[in-house]
Protein backbone atom coordinates (compact mmCIF):
# COMPACT_ATOMS: atom_id res chain seq x y z
CA UNK A 1 0.00 0.00 0.00
CA UNK A 2 1.31 3.43 -0.84
CA UNK A 3 0.18 6.93 -0.12
CA UNK A 4 1.38 8.74 -3.17
CA UNK A 5 -0.89 11.76 -2.87
CA UNK A 6 0.00 12.21 0.76
CA UNK A 7 3.72 11.66 0.15
CA UNK A 8 3.65 14.23 -2.63
CA UNK A 9 1.93 16.79 -0.42
CA UNK A 10 4.29 16.11 2.48
CA UNK A 11 7.29 16.57 0.19
CA UNK A 12 5.84 19.79 -1.19
CA UNK A 13 5.39 21.10 2.35
CA UNK A 14 9.03 20.35 3.16
CA UNK A 15 10.16 22.01 -0.09
CA UNK A 16 8.12 25.09 0.75
CA UNK A 17 9.68 25.27 4.20
CA UNK A 18 13.18 25.00 2.75
CA UNK A 19 12.43 27.67 0.16
CA UNK A 20 11.27 29.94 2.98
CA UNK A 21 14.45 29.05 4.88
CA UNK A 22 16.60 30.13 1.92
CA UNK A 23 14.81 33.45 1.66
CA UNK A 24 15.18 34.10 5.38
CA UNK A 25 18.86 33.15 5.37
CA UNK A 26 19.52 35.44 2.43
CA UNK A 27 17.52 38.27 4.01
CA UNK A 28 19.41 38.01 7.29
CA UNK A 29 22.78 38.14 5.51
CA UNK A 30 21.67 40.97 3.28
CA UNK A 31 20.32 43.01 6.19
CA UNK A 32 23.86 43.29 7.56
CA UNK A 33 25.48 43.72 4.12
CA UNK A 34 23.20 46.67 3.32
CA UNK A 35 23.95 48.16 6.73
CA UNK A 36 27.67 47.82 6.09
CA UNK A 37 27.53 49.44 2.68
CA UNK A 38 24.88 51.94 3.88
CA UNK A 39 22.45 51.11 1.12
CA UNK A 40 19.21 52.55 2.47
CA UNK A 41 17.15 51.66 -0.58
CA UNK A 42 18.14 48.02 -0.40
CA UNK A 43 17.28 48.00 3.32
CA UNK A 44 13.84 49.39 2.51
CA UNK A 45 13.30 46.56 0.05
CA UNK A 46 14.27 44.05 2.75
CA UNK A 47 11.72 45.62 5.10
CA UNK A 48 9.08 45.10 2.41
CA UNK A 49 10.16 41.51 1.97
CA UNK A 50 9.21 40.71 5.56
CA UNK A 51 5.53 40.85 4.65
CA UNK A 52 6.14 38.25 1.96
CA UNK A 53 8.02 36.02 4.44
CA UNK A 54 5.13 36.26 6.89
CA UNK A 55 2.60 35.38 4.19
CA UNK A 56 4.56 32.35 3.11
CA UNK A 57 4.89 31.20 6.70
CA UNK A 58 1.11 31.42 7.21
CA UNK A 59 0.52 29.60 3.93
CA UNK A 60 2.78 26.72 4.98
CA UNK A 61 1.15 26.57 8.40
CA UNK A 62 -2.28 26.51 6.81
CA UNK A 63 -1.26 23.78 4.34
CA UNK A 64 0.18 21.75 7.22
CA UNK A 65 -3.07 21.97 9.17
CA UNK A 66 -5.05 20.94 6.10
CA UNK A 67 -2.76 17.95 5.64
CA UNK A 68 -3.33 16.91 9.27
CA UNK A 69 -7.09 17.36 8.98
CA UNK A 70 -7.48 15.54 5.69
CA UNK A 71 -4.84 12.80 5.89
CA UNK A 72 -4.60 12.00 9.61
CA UNK A 73 -0.83 11.54 9.61
CA UNK A 74 0.70 9.42 12.35
CA UNK A 75 4.08 8.77 13.93
CA UNK A 76 7.03 9.93 11.75
CA UNK A 77 4.77 11.75 9.28
CA UNK A 78 3.04 13.59 12.11
CA UNK A 79 6.39 14.55 13.61
CA UNK A 80 7.58 15.99 10.27
CA UNK A 81 4.47 18.14 9.98
CA UNK A 82 4.60 19.25 13.63
CA UNK A 83 8.29 20.15 13.14
CA UNK A 84 7.50 22.12 9.98
CA UNK A 85 4.89 24.19 11.82
CA UNK A 86 7.45 25.00 14.52
CA UNK A 87 10.32 25.63 12.13
CA UNK A 88 8.42 28.05 9.90
CA UNK A 89 7.49 30.01 13.01
CA UNK A 90 11.19 30.22 13.94
CA UNK A 91 12.04 31.25 10.37
CA UNK A 92 9.47 34.00 10.47
CA UNK A 93 10.96 35.30 13.72
CA UNK A 94 14.44 35.27 12.20
CA UNK A 95 12.94 37.21 9.30
CA UNK A 96 11.67 39.74 11.83
CA UNK A 97 15.20 40.14 13.22
CA UNK A 98 16.47 40.80 9.69
CA UNK A 99 13.72 43.36 9.20
CA UNK A 100 14.77 44.96 12.49
CA UNK A 101 18.35 45.28 11.28
CA UNK A 102 17.21 46.77 7.97
CA UNK A 103 15.02 49.24 9.86
CA UNK A 104 18.01 50.30 11.94
CA UNK A 105 20.00 51.04 8.79
CA UNK A 106 17.17 53.28 7.58
CA UNK A 107 16.95 54.97 11.00
CA UNK A 108 20.68 55.66 11.10
CA UNK A 109 20.07 57.25 7.72
CA UNK A 110 22.85 59.34 6.25
CA UNK A 111 24.89 59.68 9.45
CA UNK A 112 28.34 58.14 9.10
CA UNK A 113 28.89 55.00 11.18
CA UNK A 114 30.70 55.61 14.46
CA UNK A 115 32.93 52.61 13.82
CA UNK A 116 33.79 50.25 11.00
CA UNK A 117 31.64 47.10 11.13
CA UNK A 118 33.80 44.01 11.59
CA UNK A 119 32.40 41.76 14.30
CA UNK A 120 28.77 42.36 13.34
CA UNK A 121 29.27 41.00 9.78
CA UNK A 122 31.13 38.05 11.33
CA UNK A 123 28.15 37.39 13.60
CA UNK A 124 25.85 37.53 10.58
CA UNK A 125 28.03 35.11 8.64
CA UNK A 126 28.08 32.72 11.56
CA UNK A 127 24.31 32.97 12.18
CA UNK A 128 23.57 32.42 8.46
CA UNK A 129 25.91 29.45 8.31
CA UNK A 130 24.26 27.89 11.37
CA UNK A 131 20.82 28.39 9.84
CA UNK A 132 21.92 26.96 6.51
CA UNK A 133 23.28 23.80 8.10
CA UNK A 134 20.31 23.46 10.47
CA UNK A 135 17.99 23.31 7.45
CA UNK A 136 20.41 20.98 5.73
CA UNK A 137 20.26 18.65 8.74
CA UNK A 138 16.48 18.61 8.34
CA UNK A 139 16.71 17.63 4.69
CA UNK A 140 19.22 14.89 5.43
CA UNK A 141 17.58 13.86 8.71
CA UNK A 142 21.07 14.21 10.14
CA UNK A 143 20.74 14.15 13.93
CA UNK A 144 24.49 14.36 14.51
CA UNK A 145 24.74 17.53 12.46
CA UNK A 146 21.71 19.02 14.23
CA UNK A 147 23.24 18.23 17.60
CA UNK A 148 26.62 19.72 16.67
CA UNK A 149 25.34 23.18 15.63
CA UNK A 150 24.25 24.58 19.04
CA UNK A 151 27.83 24.50 20.35
CA UNK A 152 28.69 27.14 17.72
CA UNK A 153 26.38 29.52 19.50
CA UNK A 154 29.34 30.17 21.85
CA UNK A 155 31.15 31.95 19.03
CA UNK A 156 28.12 34.13 18.28
CA UNK A 157 27.78 34.97 21.98
CA UNK A 158 31.49 35.77 22.22
CA UNK A 159 31.22 38.13 19.25
CA UNK A 160 28.16 39.72 20.79
CA UNK A 161 30.04 40.37 24.01
CA UNK A 162 32.91 41.81 22.00
CA UNK A 163 30.57 44.18 20.14
CA UNK A 164 28.90 45.12 23.39
CA UNK A 165 32.16 46.03 25.12
CA UNK A 166 33.40 47.97 22.13
CA UNK A 167 30.20 50.00 21.79
CA UNK A 168 30.32 50.81 25.50
CA UNK A 169 33.73 52.38 25.03
CA UNK A 170 32.32 54.55 22.21
CA UNK A 171 29.42 55.62 24.42
CA UNK A 172 31.72 56.47 27.32
CA UNK A 173 34.08 58.38 25.05
CA UNK A 174 31.36 60.55 23.50
CA UNK A 175 27.72 60.64 24.65
CA UNK A 176 26.67 61.78 21.16
CA UNK A 177 27.35 58.20 20.09
CA UNK A 178 24.72 56.80 22.43
CA UNK A 179 21.89 56.64 19.89
CA UNK A 180 23.82 54.96 17.12
CA UNK A 181 25.71 52.70 19.51
CA UNK A 182 22.37 51.61 20.89
CA UNK A 183 21.13 50.93 17.35
CA UNK A 184 24.20 48.82 16.59
CA UNK A 185 23.81 46.98 19.86
CA UNK A 186 20.32 46.04 18.74
CA UNK A 187 21.72 44.76 15.45
CA UNK A 188 24.10 42.49 17.36
CA UNK A 189 21.33 41.46 19.71
CA UNK A 190 19.09 40.48 16.76
CA UNK A 191 21.86 38.36 15.28
CA UNK A 192 22.43 36.67 18.59
CA UNK A 193 18.71 35.91 18.86
CA UNK A 194 18.65 34.60 15.28
CA UNK A 195 21.33 32.07 16.27
CA UNK A 196 19.25 31.06 19.29
CA UNK A 197 16.22 30.50 17.06
CA UNK A 198 18.38 28.33 14.85
CA UNK A 199 19.11 26.11 17.83
CA UNK A 200 15.35 25.66 18.25
CA UNK A 201 15.26 24.48 14.63
CA UNK A 202 18.00 21.94 15.42
CA UNK A 203 15.90 20.66 18.32
CA UNK A 204 13.00 20.10 15.90
CA UNK A 205 15.26 18.12 13.59
CA UNK A 206 16.21 15.83 16.47
CA UNK A 207 12.50 15.51 17.33
CA UNK A 208 11.59 14.69 13.73
CA UNK A 209 14.06 11.84 13.57
CA UNK A 210 14.00 10.44 17.11
CA UNK A 211 10.68 11.58 18.59
CA UNK A 212 12.59 13.05 21.53
CA UNK A 213 11.66 16.57 22.58
CA UNK A 214 14.63 17.95 24.45
CA UNK A 215 16.64 21.12 24.67
CA UNK A 216 20.00 20.85 22.99
CA UNK A 217 23.07 21.92 24.91
CA UNK A 218 23.81 25.50 24.22
CA UNK A 219 27.25 26.97 24.78
CA UNK A 220 28.50 27.74 28.26
CA UNK A 221 29.33 31.33 27.31
CA UNK A 222 25.78 32.53 27.85
CA UNK A 223 25.83 31.58 31.51
CA UNK A 224 29.16 33.22 32.22
CA UNK A 225 28.74 36.65 30.69
CA UNK A 226 25.78 38.01 32.56
CA UNK A 227 24.91 40.09 29.51
CA UNK A 228 21.91 37.89 28.91
CA UNK A 229 20.35 39.37 32.04
CA UNK A 230 20.30 42.80 30.41
CA UNK A 231 17.77 41.78 27.75
Amino acid sequence: MTRETFDRELQRLQDEMLALGSIVEETLGESVNTLKRRDLEASSRLIERDRYINERRFQIESDALILIATQQPMAGDLRIIAAIIEIVAELERIGDYAKGIATINVRIGHQPLIKPLIDIPLMAQKACSMLHRALDSFVRRDVELARSIPAEDDEVDALYNQVYRELMTYIIADPRHIEQANHLLWVAHNLERAADRTINICERVVFTVTGQLAELNRGEEEKETGIESLH
Binding site: M1, A75, G76, L78, R79
Partner: protein
Protein backbone atom coordinates in the same frame (compact mmCIF):
# COMPACT_ATOMS: atom_id res chain seq x y z
CA UNK B 1 -2.86 -3.49 37.75
CA UNK B 2 -3.28 -6.30 35.24
CA UNK B 3 -6.79 -7.66 34.74
CA UNK B 4 -5.72 -10.13 32.08
CA UNK B 5 -2.27 -11.57 31.45
CA UNK B 6 -1.71 -13.49 28.26
CA UNK B 7 1.40 -15.68 28.29
CA UNK B 8 2.90 -17.23 25.17
CA UNK B 9 -0.44 -17.80 23.51
CA UNK B 10 -0.47 -19.84 20.29
CA UNK B 11 -3.71 -20.43 18.49
CA UNK B 12 -4.42 -22.82 15.64
CA UNK B 13 -7.30 -23.34 13.24
CA UNK B 14 -6.42 -26.94 12.35
CA UNK B 15 -2.87 -26.73 10.97
CA UNK B 16 -3.00 -22.99 10.47
CA UNK B 17 -1.21 -21.01 13.16
CA UNK B 18 -3.32 -17.87 13.64
CA UNK B 19 -1.47 -16.55 16.69
CA UNK B 20 2.17 -17.19 17.53
CA UNK B 21 3.66 -16.63 20.96
CA UNK B 22 1.56 -13.65 21.96
CA UNK B 23 2.11 -12.21 25.42
CA UNK B 24 0.30 -9.13 26.68
CA UNK B 25 -0.84 -7.55 29.94
CA UNK B 26 -4.21 -5.84 29.88
CA UNK B 27 -4.65 -3.23 32.57
CA UNK B 28 -7.74 -3.11 34.76
CA UNK B 29 -10.19 -0.33 33.84
CA UNK B 30 -8.13 0.62 30.86
CA UNK B 31 -9.08 0.58 27.21
CA UNK B 32 -6.77 -1.59 25.16
CA UNK B 33 -7.03 -1.35 21.38
CA UNK B 34 -5.88 -4.06 18.98
CA UNK B 35 -5.00 -2.94 15.48
CA UNK B 36 -3.59 -4.60 12.38
CA UNK B 37 -4.58 -5.55 8.85
CA UNK B 38 -7.34 -8.07 8.06
CA UNK B 39 -6.31 -11.58 8.96
CA UNK B 40 -3.54 -10.52 11.33
CA UNK B 41 -5.10 -12.39 14.25
CA UNK B 42 -6.45 -9.51 16.29
CA UNK B 43 -10.05 -10.79 16.34
CA UNK B 44 -8.85 -14.32 17.04
CA UNK B 45 -6.87 -12.94 19.96
CA UNK B 46 -9.91 -11.04 21.25
CA UNK B 47 -12.04 -14.18 21.07
CA UNK B 48 -9.42 -16.12 23.00
CA UNK B 49 -10.04 -13.85 25.97
CA UNK B 50 -13.44 -15.39 26.68
CA UNK B 51 -12.99 -18.65 24.78
CA UNK B 52 -15.39 -17.72 22.02
CA UNK B 53 -13.18 -19.70 19.66
CA UNK B 54 -13.98 -22.96 21.50
CA UNK B 55 -16.96 -23.57 19.29
CA UNK B 56 -14.89 -23.60 16.09
CA UNK B 57 -14.06 -27.18 15.02
CA UNK B 58 -10.34 -27.91 14.94
CA UNK B 59 -9.41 -24.76 16.85
CA UNK B 60 -7.03 -25.05 19.76
CA UNK B 61 -5.08 -22.76 22.04
CA UNK B 62 -1.72 -23.20 23.73
CA UNK B 63 -0.28 -21.01 26.44
CA UNK B 64 -2.07 -19.27 29.25
CA UNK B 65 -4.68 -16.55 29.57
CA UNK B 66 -4.91 -15.41 33.17
CA UNK B 67 -7.99 -13.54 34.33
CA UNK B 68 -7.22 -12.16 37.80
CA UNK B 69 -4.45 -14.73 37.93
CA UNK B 70 -6.66 -17.75 37.03
CA UNK B 71 -5.97 -19.53 33.75
CA UNK B 72 -9.22 -19.50 31.76
CA UNK B 73 -7.97 -22.46 29.70
CA UNK B 74 -7.59 -24.65 32.80
CA UNK B 75 -9.71 -27.82 32.45
CA UNK B 76 -12.03 -26.98 35.33
CA UNK B 77 -13.04 -23.57 33.91
CA UNK B 78 -16.78 -22.90 33.82
CA UNK B 79 -17.03 -21.31 30.39
CA UNK B 80 -20.51 -19.87 30.98
CA UNK B 81 -19.30 -18.16 34.16
CA UNK B 82 -16.23 -16.96 32.28
CA UNK B 83 -18.38 -15.34 29.57
CA UNK B 84 -20.48 -13.66 32.23
CA UNK B 85 -17.30 -12.05 33.56
CA UNK B 86 -15.94 -11.31 30.09
CA UNK B 87 -18.76 -10.00 27.90
CA UNK B 88 -18.68 -9.23 24.22
CA UNK B 89 -20.09 -6.69 21.78
CA UNK B 90 -19.98 -7.52 18.08
CA UNK B 91 -19.44 -5.75 14.81
CA UNK B 92 -23.05 -5.39 13.83
CA UNK B 93 -25.65 -4.65 16.48
CA UNK B 94 -27.42 -7.95 17.14
CA UNK B 95 -30.40 -7.26 19.38
CA UNK B 96 -32.84 -10.13 19.92
CA UNK B 97 -36.21 -9.71 18.17
CA UNK B 98 -37.76 -8.65 21.43
CA UNK B 99 -38.54 -5.47 23.29
CA UNK B 100 -35.82 -3.13 24.57
CA UNK B 101 -36.61 -4.27 28.10
CA UNK B 102 -36.43 -7.97 27.31
CA UNK B 103 -33.15 -7.58 25.48
CA UNK B 104 -31.49 -6.07 28.51
CA UNK B 105 -33.25 -8.42 30.91
CA UNK B 106 -32.21 -11.49 28.91
CA UNK B 107 -28.89 -12.15 30.62
CA UNK B 108 -30.05 -11.49 34.18
CA UNK B 109 -33.03 -13.82 33.62
CA UNK B 110 -30.91 -16.63 32.17
CA UNK B 111 -28.37 -16.33 34.97
CA UNK B 112 -31.05 -15.95 37.63
CA UNK B 113 -29.66 -12.60 38.74
CA UNK B 114 -33.15 -11.16 39.00
CA UNK B 115 -33.80 -13.30 42.04
CA UNK B 116 -31.31 -11.15 43.93
CA UNK B 117 -32.20 -7.75 42.55
CA UNK B 118 -35.14 -6.03 41.03
CA UNK B 119 -35.11 -6.71 37.30
CA UNK B 120 -36.41 -3.24 36.49
CA UNK B 121 -33.55 -1.70 38.42
CA UNK B 122 -31.01 -3.82 36.58
CA UNK B 123 -32.50 -2.83 33.23
CA UNK B 124 -32.60 0.85 34.11
CA UNK B 125 -29.05 0.86 35.46
CA UNK B 126 -27.77 -0.97 32.41
CA UNK B 127 -29.54 1.37 29.99
CA UNK B 128 -28.23 4.35 31.93
CA UNK B 129 -24.76 2.81 31.85
CA UNK B 130 -24.99 2.56 28.08
CA UNK B 131 -26.32 6.16 27.86
CA UNK B 132 -29.52 4.96 26.21
CA UNK B 133 -31.99 5.37 29.07
CA UNK B 134 -33.16 8.89 28.24
CA UNK B 135 -33.93 7.87 24.68
CA UNK B 136 -35.95 4.73 25.47
CA UNK B 137 -37.32 5.19 29.00
CA UNK B 138 -40.80 6.22 27.80
CA UNK B 139 -41.25 3.10 25.73
CA UNK B 140 -39.30 0.15 27.06
CA UNK B 141 -41.72 -2.21 25.33
CA UNK B 142 -40.86 -1.00 21.86
CA UNK B 143 -39.26 -3.46 19.49
CA UNK B 144 -35.47 -3.29 19.73
CA UNK B 145 -35.25 -3.35 15.94
CA UNK B 146 -37.16 -0.06 15.76
CA UNK B 147 -34.13 1.70 17.24
CA UNK B 148 -31.47 3.31 15.06
CA UNK B 149 -28.30 1.30 14.46
CA UNK B 150 -26.36 3.44 16.92
CA UNK B 151 -29.06 2.95 19.55
CA UNK B 152 -29.12 -0.79 18.81
CA UNK B 153 -25.38 -1.00 19.45
CA UNK B 154 -25.76 0.86 22.73
CA UNK B 155 -28.60 -1.55 23.56
CA UNK B 156 -26.21 -4.44 22.96
CA UNK B 157 -23.73 -2.76 25.30
CA UNK B 158 -26.52 -2.38 27.89
CA UNK B 159 -27.31 -6.07 27.42
CA UNK B 160 -23.65 -6.91 27.94
CA UNK B 161 -23.30 -4.89 31.12
CA UNK B 162 -26.62 -6.13 32.55
CA UNK B 163 -24.89 -9.28 33.79
CA UNK B 164 -22.25 -7.20 35.59
CA UNK B 165 -19.21 -8.31 33.65
CA UNK B 166 -15.67 -7.27 34.57
CA UNK B 167 -14.29 -7.13 31.05
CA UNK B 168 -16.02 -6.06 27.83
CA UNK B 169 -14.59 -7.24 24.52
CA UNK B 170 -15.59 -5.16 21.51
CA UNK B 171 -15.04 -6.48 18.01
CA UNK B 172 -15.25 -3.52 15.63
CA UNK B 173 -18.23 -2.10 17.51
CA UNK B 174 -18.56 0.96 15.29
CA UNK B 175 -17.92 -0.42 11.83
CA UNK B 176 -21.63 -0.49 10.98
CA UNK B 177 -22.34 2.93 12.47
CA UNK B 178 -22.38 6.44 11.07
CA UNK B 179 -19.83 9.00 12.35
CA UNK B 180 -22.11 10.54 14.98
CA UNK B 181 -23.19 7.16 16.37
CA UNK B 182 -19.51 6.17 16.33
CA UNK B 183 -18.54 9.17 18.44
CA UNK B 184 -21.39 8.37 20.84
CA UNK B 185 -20.04 4.86 21.35
CA UNK B 186 -16.53 6.24 21.81
CA UNK B 187 -17.80 8.67 24.48
CA UNK B 188 -19.67 5.81 26.11
CA UNK B 189 -16.46 3.77 26.23
CA UNK B 190 -14.79 6.52 28.24
CA UNK B 191 -17.61 6.33 30.79
CA UNK B 192 -17.62 2.53 30.84
CA UNK B 193 -13.93 2.34 31.60
CA UNK B 194 -14.59 3.71 35.08
CA UNK B 195 -16.08 0.32 35.89
CA UNK B 196 -14.95 -2.09 33.22
CA UNK B 197 -11.83 -3.27 31.50
CA UNK B 198 -12.32 -2.83 27.76
CA UNK B 199 -10.53 -4.50 24.88
CA UNK B 200 -11.47 -3.27 21.42
CA UNK B 201 -10.54 -4.52 17.98
CA UNK B 202 -10.74 -1.77 15.39
CA UNK B 203 -9.77 -1.26 11.79
CA UNK B 204 -9.95 2.46 12.33
CA UNK B 205 -6.57 3.63 13.57
CA UNK B 206 -7.88 7.08 14.41
CA UNK B 207 -10.45 5.40 16.62
CA UNK B 208 -7.75 3.41 18.40
CA UNK B 209 -5.78 6.62 18.86
CA UNK B 210 -8.84 8.47 20.17
CA UNK B 211 -10.25 5.97 22.63
CA UNK B 212 -7.54 3.71 23.97
CA UNK B 213 -4.92 3.87 26.71
CA UNK B 214 -2.84 1.04 25.27
CA UNK B 215 -2.51 -0.25 21.73
CA UNK B 216 -1.28 -3.57 20.41
CA UNK B 217 -0.28 -3.94 16.76
CA UNK B 218 -0.69 -7.42 15.24
CA UNK B 219 0.92 -8.59 12.02
CA UNK B 220 0.71 -12.11 10.59
CA UNK B 221 -0.36 -13.60 13.89
CA UNK B 222 2.32 -11.91 15.94
CA UNK B 223 2.11 -9.04 18.38
CA UNK B 224 4.66 -6.68 16.85
CA UNK B 225 4.41 -3.89 19.37
CA UNK B 226 2.42 -3.12 22.49
CA UNK B 227 2.70 0.16 24.30
CA UNK B 228 0.89 3.25 25.51
CA UNK B 229 -1.32 4.60 22.74
CA UNK B 230 0.35 8.01 22.93
CA UNK B 231 3.69 6.43 22.14
CA UNK B 232 2.47 4.01 19.46
CA UNK B 233 0.94 6.81 17.39
CA UNK B 234 3.72 9.37 17.79
CA UNK B 235 6.95 7.41 18.07
CA UNK B 236 6.55 3.67 17.69
CA UNK B 237 9.64 1.58 18.32
CA UNK B 238 9.21 -0.86 15.44
CA UNK B 239 9.59 0.11 11.78
CA UNK B 240 6.73 -2.24 10.87
CA UNK B 241 4.40 -0.40 13.25
CA UNK B 242 5.52 2.92 11.79
CA UNK B 243 4.90 1.66 8.25
CA UNK B 244 1.46 0.35 9.14
CA UNK B 245 0.14 3.35 11.03
CA UNK B 246 1.50 5.79 8.46
CA UNK B 247 -0.27 3.78 5.77
CA UNK B 248 2.83 2.42 4.05
CA UNK B 249 2.35 -1.26 4.88
CA UNK B 250 -0.71 -3.45 5.10
Amino acid sequence: MDKIRVEHLNFYYGDFCALADVSMSIGERQITALIGPSGCGKSTFLRCLNRMNDTIPGARAEGRVLLDGQDIYAPNTDVVALRRRVGMVFQRPNPFPQSVFDNVAFGPRVLGLHRHANLHEIVEQSLRGAVLWDEVKDNLRQDALSLSLGQQQRLCIARAIAVRPEVILMDEPCSALDPIATLEIEELMQQLKEHYTIVIVTHNMQQAARVSDYTGFFWLGKLVEFNETNIIFTRPAEQLTEDYITGRAG
